[in-house]
């Protein structure tokens, strides 16, 4: 177990190093740089700026310096927010994305499992048809559409009732979070519902369920222990990457609902070629994704004893 964990962690570190290196050189090969502005700066001012940020050195030297600093946990200072360290940006904004993401993923996971089980129980009957139709909608409609429609509905609802039931945008309490989290988790929920349904149906027809019923076990027990527990496994598998995707993919939702999350910085940094923020957020999210995948594998062996880690 310990050897396995060590091997996985080592692989993870190599993956993150690879991500960092690839991003670094890709970023420096994009035409333009973070220092250009609408107003052309004189060569003297430009030289001052380059010296300040160490951009006057050759790229390979910058790379070595950057990697050295990264190992010390220092991601440097943002180019666009010239007073803030990238570490501060991640520390202040990731908790926001994570808070929203946890609620979204909970919505998605609980919803997906319950709806999936429900549709499997009602297979080919009306509730199944209706839910599966909604699932197709949920998978195919992009989140910015849901975000805009949801917000509009909220404004009309508030106007209709005459009181502010839920805030339209902003951040600060659970009421700010409900709609954005729902919108953010909707796609994943729909996907998980479909996954759960097919996985349930497969198991209903399996031999061990038939055996269990033949033995005369109580139906509730068969449903809970033999069907649900086994059907959840594929759901757990996709949950790891889904968590990473939801906490990173919140850019649109964060913009529409004015939420101070990290997703906005992640996307805007690329648009503004903010080298240090691009590197910081990419490496951070890369490491996060790798970590989630390892975690899911561990969880897997705990839920399903048949899986051995080695």
């Amino acid at each position: 177990m310990a050897a396995y964990l060590f091997k996985r962690l080592l692989q993870g570190v190599i993956t993150v190093w690879f991500i960092a290196t690839a991003t670094f050189f890709a970023m420096h090969n994009v035409p333009g740089d973070p220092l250009s502005d609408q107003r052309a700066v004189s060569p003297a001012i430009r030289a001052n700026l380059e010296a300040r940020y160490g951009l006057d050195r050759p790229v390979h030297e910058q790379y070595l310096i950057y990697m050295g600093n990264m190992l010390k946990g220092d991601f440097g200072i943002s180019f666009t927010q010239q007073n803030r360290e990238v570490n501060d940006i991640i520390r202040e904004h990731f908790p926001v994305s994570a808070t929203l993401g946890i609620l979204a993923i909970t919505f998605a996971a609980l919803g997906g499992i319950l709806w999936g089980a429900l549709t499997a129980l009602y297979r080919n009957r009306l509730p199944d048809t209706v839910i599966m139709l909604l699932v197709i909608l949920g998978i195919s409609v992009p989140s910015f559409v849901f975000a805009a429609l949801g917000q509009l509905a909220l404004v009309n609802l508030n106007a209709f009732t005459g009181v502010s039931l839920l805030p339209v945008a902003g951040w600060g309490s659970i009421s700010h979070m409900l709609l954005p989290a729902l919108v953010l988790g909707l796609g994943t929920m729909a996907y998980l519902t479909r996954l759960m349904r097919s996985s349930m149906l497969e198991i209903i027809n399996s031999d061990y369920v038939r055996t269990a019923r033949a033995k005369g076990l109580p139906p509730a027990r068969i449903f809970a222990r033999h069907q649900l527990r086994n059907a959840i496994l594929p759901v757990i598998t996709v949950l790891g990457p889904a968590i990473a995707a939801i906490t990173t993919g919140g850019f649109v939702v964060e913009l529409v609902f004015a939420i101070p999350g990290l997703g906005r910085y992640f996307v805007q940094a690329v648009q503004q070629l903010d080298y240090t923020v691009i590197m910081g957020t990419t490496v951070f999210y890369g490491a996060f994704l790798v970590f989630m995948v390892i975690l899911v594998d561990l969880l897997y062996s705990w839920i399903d004893p048949r899986v051995r880690l080695q």
Binding site: A40, A51, A169, S173, P219, A220, F257, P260, Q272
Partner: protein
Amino acid sequence: MSKPVVSDDNFDRAARRQLILYAMGALAFLLVLMLGLSQAARLTSGAVGTFNGAVDADSKAITIYLRDEPPLLDSMRSTDVVSGTVLGHVSEGLLRYDERGEITHGVADHWQQDGTLVSFHIRDNARWSNGEPITAHDFEFAWKTALDPATGSQYAFILYVIKNAKAANQGQLPLSEVGVTAVDDHTLLVELETPIAYFDKLVAFPTYAPVQEAFYQRSNGRYAADADQMLYNGPFMITSWVHGASLRMEKNPYYWDAQRARLNVINAAYITSDSNTLLNLFKDGQIVVADLTAEMLEEAMQRRWQLDRFMDGSVFFMDFNFREGRLTRNRNLRMAMHLAQDSAELVNRVIKLPAYLPAYSLFPVWLDGIEKKFREEYPAPRYPRNIPLAREYLTRAMTELGLERPPRLVMLSSDTPVARIQAEYYQEVFREVLGMEVLIDAQIFQQRLAKMSAGDFDMVLAGWGPDYNDPLTFADLYASWNLNNRGRYQNPALDELVRVGQSSLDPRERMDAFGQIQRILHEDVVQIGNYERGIVYATHPQLKGVVHRVFGAEIDYSYAWIETEGE
């Protein structure tokens, strides 16, 4: 599913009961989780505010939005509009712009200029937000720090009119040689490189704002990074700043003009640039001002909102590449393109954004001349659209250039929605009228700038925003030495006129020079005007006295007040 599904009602009923049980369990779990997350949200947001809604007449508080997190509130290095808006409320220079956009006294209560010598007297009751007096040393320190090469200030050039400032910024002279000295606590003496007529307008620019040296040194490189890392001397001060989430400004008790600010709190509770979100927040009564796009106008009229328009000062145009070997060096070719298009058509039928005006000159309509507006005193000459003539010019150009077919040209543009439809308009017009193929090269902002500087284009859709309220802020754009002249247009006659505008002290002579520059740009077809940008915005019916202006804070609440029903 080839096998028949085994099913019996008894099993299904039990399974459903079990599922309902799980669902209830899940719901309970969700509630507990939400309780925990609520706590987390409160921690990451700071105090969002003690009241709800756009205006609160009792506490004289309003809620606004910011388009972005202010990137840099250090006045010596700041360059962007959002930071400029916040700085316009919380800091003040020697001179400033008033509610009508005129230069007026700020920290200085009087000043005089005598040739190259300018002296400012700092008012006795000017104080920082910590109660300490503002002195002439605070200005000397701020200006010299902005010029220090180690500071790396992009806007250092705006101080170059001061003696030795440019040389010091380039590291050729020590900062002590820069022509600004605090004679005593209340007198600041400035020596200019040459006598200029517009120094008062430069002094109102944020880069000229004061910074207290002792405080700056104490902040250890983190000056203006947080609300408590900054000293304020404007009518407001920042009392809380949660990055990316909210920024709260409250009345500054130490501001010298206690009468000015009539609001107690300006709470920027929302930071987003999504125009639909802002409209929704405005509809829901959460913010006092919202900008409107074309699609929103009809609804806004139906709702009888109070709508106003305002020109933000920027002018947009198509620039040509004048570098050696470019076809666009040929005047007849440029003339053909100019005659083929119509900026009124572009604005009214293509862009269709409210408050935009067709541009007919580099000098926008709002610029002041001597007594009236510059454009009233020096009307812009025009070439009305003329398709046969355009084709004639094209034929002439093709003969001169030895071309058999109309040339294929590359038009660089940014990738914003407006720039895209604008580029497509010109592509279509040039194809239809002149039979000319135009390749659109749409790039993100930074890459477009890189390509512009490298000269990698035939035409480029560009724009220019003014720094100070004088035609010179536009007039020197095509001077041969100006780095923003990215098409490298060169004309000694124009250069000479720019020098007159820079150095003459006679208003008539200067304006005549600018009028001539306008004529040269027209005759030489140096650019094709696109539009002057404008904004239509809705304001909360109870909020009065909000100022929009080109210079200083783009939107200024420091004169605003809330009207209560009784008044």
